[in-house]
């Protein structure tokens, strides 16, 4: 049987950071990833932070990859951070940039399918020096212990192999946690469900519309009527030449009043303010070729489609400085003006010859979903099992504090700590929990991120409250009014936050995270103080079937999900809550069609849920 020092299961941002870090420490580690390529199974809302905390050191992405700032394919550095309260065509905006900047070096918008392959390349370069590496398209099936220091890993694709320690980075639906029983399955109150669409928009149009320069980015958060009465909110982040638009809602609230996840993102997309932000010119076929003969009709349609494709590409390139530069360098066009003329001439040809109309709409590229663990409710207090360490989402470590949602940076911080613990254990050649697991637990406890999950940071609270000064006091409920008053005085704030943290921050959650804070109060604010927002066109949002049809799957004939009780209340709710409509009702029973599954894990609680076999299942292009 082949032997390696460490196996890292899962090639997301946390797993790759662990590989990179262990290799930097001179240890041999292999990373096992289920997707055919790194990055195809990953989804993120889209912000990666680097922090500079006063209460202790966090390990940032640029500490792991020293050329991150110069070379990494990130999207935009967020310089504007806004919170909008919405009610129909009224909107009230708060500038939360100070909260975004709070103890922050930078926050980049990212698309994981672009960023993770770069992480992988960097990690692989280091790993190869120590005899490690990355193996993709492999699904881990079982984990066994030969003795205290030896773990045998069985996969669906390869011969079994043995390692001394495992770092489990297999995400929120961690199968390693399930098969070893290291932690309970996350329950609905532990989780948020996030649904995202990636929208295409030319680079310079983004910059003009969001009032940012080439190096800047904007983040917009939404609460109010766009939540459809759920606890959570919407977001819109600018990428280089795309936008990430999504909705993140507390699973409890979705179970209580089941709403189709895509309806939540649609509610955001059809908000009049958002409509104007995502607007683009889109060619629409009128299909008036009926007077032509059958063959002629097909030929015309083919030509028209080809021209539309050309127009879309060139229209997109025209607004991208780097794209224009490339076209000019190719020598195909001499001036930028010439490209514009070509775009216009194709445009005119389509309108005059092919009966195409150009309408205002938006261009959706990819629909995705994922569960997000709320660390303050579900972080693993003991993030290890024997000689397996859990990091990132697999350990339930996500930060949800008001508008602050972070996961990628937490996973990277965990990875560095896990790598240190494992490296130390290898040096001592002992993997007993006193040496490995407990040491890792202590390192994680020291992390400022852990503190963020357990306690309210009174300084952050002050920055937040300062941002919300324009909100009239009488809008909020008497309960909050008292809190507001208390909090605006620094001595009281210090004392009361201290008291709350002593009593347990979790007890306050039902008040802090309620329909009132996410829906009712924002609606009231928008109605009272909001500006009117006019929309200039009516949006056409693709149906869920169209969205699924655009996704890439490598179908597995074998279903990776098994329904345990097809008549349970929970499963019946899945008919509504599955983001890709995998469940339907037939004769009072819930039936599953797994082919459209995007592996979000929404149905995990009452199913036998495995990741698909290697290379199978969904393959995202943006992530």
């Amino acid at each position: 049987m082949e032997k390696f020092d460490v196996a890292i299961i899962g090639g997301g941002s946390a797993g790759l950071a662990a590989l990179k870090q262990l290799s930097n420490l001179g240890k041999q580690a292999i990373l096992i990833e289920g997707g055919k390529k790194i990055g195809t199974k990953n989804v993120s809302g889209g912000l990666l932070y680097s922090k500079n905390t006063t209460i202790g050191k966090v390990y940032n992405v640029e500490d792991v990859y020293d050329n991150f700032l110069t070379d990494a394919p990130v999207e935009r550095q967020i310089t504007k951070y806004m919170l909008h309260a919405t009610s129909k065509d009224k909107m009230f905006s708060l500038d939360l940039t100070p909260t975004h900047n709070y103890q922050t070096n930078f926050g980049y918008s990212v698309l994981l399918n672009k960023l993770l392959p770069w992480f992988a390349k960097e990690a692989l370069n280091s790993a190869e020096k120590t005899g490690g590496g990355i193996v993709t398209g492999i699904h881990v099936r079982s984990i066994m212990w030969k003795d205290e220091n030896t773990i045998i890993i069985e996969t669906d694709e390869l011969e079994p192999f043995q390692v001394k320690a495992v770092i489990a980075a297999d995400g929120v639906n961690s199968e390693v946690a399930q098969i070893t029983g290291a932690r309970r399955k996350f329950t609905q109150s532990d989780l948020y469900q996030g649904v995202k669409v990636v929208v295409k928009l030319p680079e310079e149009i983004i910059e003009e519309r969001f009032e940012i320069t080439n190096n800047e980015g904007a983040a917009h958060l939404f609460a109010g009527d766009v939540t459809l009465n759920h606890i959570g909110g919407g977001f819109l982040y600018t990428n280089k030449d795309t936008l990430s638009v999504g909705a993140v809602y507390h699973y409890d609230s979705l179970i209580e009043k089941p709403t189709e996840p895509y309806e939540l993102v649609n509610a955001l997309l059809s908000n009049p303010f958002v409509i104007e932000l995502i607007k683009d010119e889109v060619p629409e076929t009128k299909e008036n070729y009926k007077n032509l003969s059958k063959e002629e009709e097909l030929r015309t349609r083919f030509k028209a489609n080809k021209l539309i494709k050309d127009w879309k590409e060139l229209h997109h390139t025209y607004y991208s400085p780097s794209g224009v530069k490339e076209l000019l360098a190719n020598g195909k066009y001499k001036t930028k003006e010439e490209i514009k003329n070509k775009v216009d001439s194709i445009h005119d040809e389509l309108v005059s010859k092919y009966d195409i109309e150009f309408e205002s709409n938006y261009v959706e590229l990819e629909y995705s979903a994922k569960l997000v663990p709320d660390g303050k409710r579900c972080r693993m207090k003991k993030p290890y099992f024997k000689n397996i360490l859990f990091i990132g989402d697999a350990a339930g470590r996500g930060i949800f504090v008001g508008p602050r949602i972070e996961g990628l940076n937490v996973g990277i911080d965990d990875a560095v700590r896990a790598a240190e613990a494992v490296s130390n254990a290898i040096d001592k050649n002992s993997f007993h929990s006193n040496i490995l697991g407990e040491r890792y637990r202590r390192l994680v406890e020291e992390s400022p991120y852990t503190k963020d999950m357990d306690e309210i940071d009174k300084n952050y609270l002050k920055v937040f409250l300062d941002c919300t000064k324009q909100v009239p006091n009488d809008i909020v409920d008497y309960r909050y009014r008292a809190i507001f008053k208390l909090m605006s005085n620094s001595t009281f704030r210090g004392i009361s936050v201290g008291l709350v943290n002593k009593l347990g921050y979790r007890r306050l959650l039902p008040i802090l995270e309620s329909n009132k804070t996410y829906t009712e109060v924002p609606i009231k604010i928008a109605e009272r103080k909001g500006k009117d927002v006019q929309k200039s066109y009516s949006i056409r949002i693709p149906a869920i079937a169209e969205r699924i049809a655009k996704l890439n799957y490598n179908d597995d004939s074998l279903s990776h999900i098994k329904v345990l009780d097809s008549q349970s209340d929970f499963m019946k709710k899945m008919v509504t809550l599955c983001p890709t409509k995998c469940y339907s009702m037939e004769n009072g029973r819930v039936i599953l069609q797994h082919e459209g599954c995007i592996e979000c894990g929404t149905c995990l609680k009452e199913t036998e849920w495995r990741h698909p076999r290697g290379e199978k299942g969904i393959a995202y292009q943006y992530g």
Binding site: E2, E128, G133, V135, L158, F161, K294, E297, L298, R301
Partner: protein, 298 residues
């Protein structure tokens, strides 16, 4: 016994062929192939042979040389093969005198090339494709093996090497007693000449093989982008060939007539349906359901 160097030495014979994949073929009005318009690529069977060499490289750390006979543009086949198998050397047998060769004359050039390799570094396995997609004879491989005096094994679907004993254990597909696709297992001493069954695809089933595979694929990309550094060209003279046994003079085959293949009679009638309209699509679905509906087990 393995060759004296101790490293497994593998040669792959490939061929540059017209790209017959969909949408890439161009025909003259008389139905013959328009060679000028049709792009040339590494033949599909040559690609299979290259992947067998990749298996040897990943699993046994083999030293791989790819060889082809043809005009200078045949370099493209060597480059594409290198991208698959991360070849260490590329050999092009190119000489005006080789033009017009049939399979026998081609085999003579390949024999000389492989023999030269065998003399210089030792050769353990020669891989070639099942047949070429433009010639379709399947003769060149076996003839070259015969000329070299190596055991020839065709339609191979898997192999393993016993380095100690210098033997190769193979599985191949044969037809026997009226059954297709019988798997025959056999053993042969090295050196050996192997042609691969078109269904062959290497499988890497241990972690180290996968790691090695990734390393090789990475390397192959780098190498093939600078393939000229790995390229050696050989003329008839440098291969010490008898000029009467190569090219046109060495080719006993005379093609005096090529007949057009008549269009096959179809006994089905096709309706062309415009897939852009939702209504037409549901009509198609209804028709399929009409035909298959009864066979669906409810």
């Amino acid at each position: 016994m393995l060759n004296p160097s101790g490293t497994l030495n593998v040669a792959v014979i490939v061929k540059l062929e017209p790209d017959f994949s969909e949408g890439n073929v161009s025909y003259n009005s008389d139905g013959t192939l328009n060679r000028a318009e049709t792009k040339n690529v590494l033949g599909p069977h040559s690609a299979v042979a290259s992947s067998a060499a990749l298996y040897a490289k990943v699993k046994y750390g083999a030293n791989v040389s790819v060889a082809t006979m043809g005009p200078p543009i045949a370099e493209a086949a060597l480059q594409q093969s290198q991208l698959i198998c991360n070849a260490d050397e590329l050999h092009l047998y190119s000489d005006r005198i080789f033009a017009g060769a049939d399979t026998l004359a081609t085999s003579e050039v390949l024999r000389a090339g492989i023999k030269k390799m065998a003399n210089e570094q030792g050769i353990d396995i020669v891989f070639s494709g099942h047949r070429a997609s433009d010639g379709e004879t399947g003769q060149t491989g076996p003839q070259t093996a015969w000329k070299l005096g190596y055991p020839f094994i065709g339609n191979v679907i898997d192999y393993d090497i016993d380095k100690e004993r210098g033997y190769v254990r193979l599985q191949r597909l044969i037809k026997n007693y009226g059954h297709n696709d019988i798997i025959e297992e056999l053993e042969s001493p090295l050196p050996v000449f192997i042609t691969l069954d078109p269904s062959y695809s290497p499988f890497f089933n241990t972690v180290s093989q996968r790691l090695n595979l990734a390393l090789n694929q990475n390397d192959a990309e780098k190498r093939s982008s600078r393939y000229k550094e790995y390229l050696k060209t050989f003329s008839a003279q440098s291969l010490e060939l008898n000029l009467k046994s190569v090219g046109l003079p060495g080719s006993p085959t005379i093609v005096y007539k090529v007949e057009k293949i008549p269009r096959a009679k179809a006994n089905r009638k096709a309706d062309i349906i415009d897939g852009y309209s939702q209504e037409n699509l549901s009509q198609v679905a209804r028709r399929i359901y009409g035909i298959l509906g009864e066979t669906i087990i409810k």
